[in-house]
Symmetry: C2
Subunit: 257 residues, 2 copies
């Protein structure tokens, strides 16, 4: 059992919690809690840490069965956990590497293209909602917050394992490629037409901009069609995750019906 | 100019930032930033505090014109502000008191009924989205987070001034009253029918439960109809603010068309 916070594995996990660079170099990310651990896809679990209390709790016997794990003291677990009320189980998980080709080979293409999304909760929520709405891939400009940030991971509620995604340094180049096979719709306050006036049954990509600035003009100019969400009252815009949800679910609504 | 953090007004604002009880007793709440201050409805501004730097910044001359305010030093402003990067202007605003009668007298009734919503960002986002979707009132169980919490206020983006709302100790009693004039639809994972299969043109209330537990069984039992949002993949539920947004915008979509 690990009882010292100076243990090298403990120090490494602390670095992985806070440093995007460390996660990138090691090609891993961290997840916490029984739900997130139970959903780790086959073959991606690298290391597992369990607190004494967690092991002693009978209800998690099934989860730990046939798994190799390192037991750690309560104090050590509080050190490695990112949350205020640690759940007693933490895993180091291998990152999956998706390519644009893999993403574009899927059926019923429904993409979410994100420019400079900054809020971890928003990004995680978009992935979670995206899975529900049948999004087949999420493409992020390199200015987006790190998807492997612990706060993002928590708000994905497991969608991080299942929705293909990639970051790109060449957001414009990728949008141009996507346009060859998809109609690209950009959520834009200056759009003339409402989002529910178009038909999304063909391959579709939805482009969403930064929370406070919206899409850059050059990015919006790349879209095939600008769309807007109607708003009553004096609301100037919607939360980015809410706007994305309304658009993704409109695509899904049309495809279901 | 106030230069001491021991000034009684300063101490009071610090209390108002962190204590729901102090806000309730004084019947006020705090807003920060030029946008939130510029949107304060006529007659509700009680006190205004401006930092030296803010006053010196020429672009805010118009905002400060004809307004009585107290100048405070930069140090004092950092003390009274709830944000990490204070914007230099803070107002004490009178709470508005809405009654159920006032809310039920509106035209095109479209209510949001919230049970024990805990996350400030979710609650604020629901109010913001609600204004956009034409919600005519928000009714909250007393277990919901305080709407006057600074984080909630920020995420409303001004909707707090414009969307009527009330807290109730008797959530069931109020739902029963609302049912006399409205159809109450509850978002529920066990619902048999999708949300977009109903007609929401008549007076409508949408009932949303707590983020992790959903609606209590007794509350769900009060609803006229249970509805669910279809989800692909392995998603078990959507974020509460996202679910509320999809439902409110479906109501609005039908009423627009």
């Amino acid at each position: 059992m690990i009882t010292s916070i100076n243990n090298p594995s403990v120090k490494n996990i602390v670095a992985l919690q806070s440093k995007s660079k460390a996660r990138k170099e090691q090609g891993v990310f961290l997840v916490e809690g029984p739900k997130m651990v139970s959903e780790i896809p086959e073959g991606l679990l690298k290391e597992l840490y369990v607190s004494e209390e967690f092991k002693a709790d009978g209800q998690y016997k099934e989860l730990l069965k046939n798994k190799k794990y390192e037991l750690v003291s309560g104090k050590v677990f509080r050190e490695i956990s990112d949350t205020q009320t640690p759940q007693g189980i933490l895993a180091v998980v291998c990152q999956q590497n998706y390519t644009l080709d893999m993403i574009l080979r899927k059926k019923d293409i429904h993409l979410l293209l994100l420019e400079d999304i900054q809020d971890p909760g928003n990004l995680g929520t978009m992935l979670r909602t995206g899975e529900g709405a049948g999004v087949t891939g999420v493409i992020m400009s390199k200015g987006c917050v790190d998807l492997y940030n612990p706060k993002v991971i928590r708000s994905t509620m497991g969608a991080i394992y299942r929705v293909p995604f990639l970051y790109t340094e060449d957001f414009y180049g990728i949008i141009t490629k996507i346009k060859e096979i998809c109609k690209v719709y950009a959520a834009h306050l200056k759009a003339k037409q409402y989002y529910d006036k178009y038909n999304y049954k063909a391959p579709t990509a939805i482009l969403i901009g930064n929370e406070s600035r919206g899409l850059k003009e050059e990015t919006a100019a790349l879209a095939d069609i600008l769309i807007k969400i109607p708003m009553l009252g004096k609301v100037e815009s919607l939360n980015a995750a809410v706007a994305a949800a309304l658009l993704m679910y409109e695509v899904y609504r049309q495809r279901r019906n």
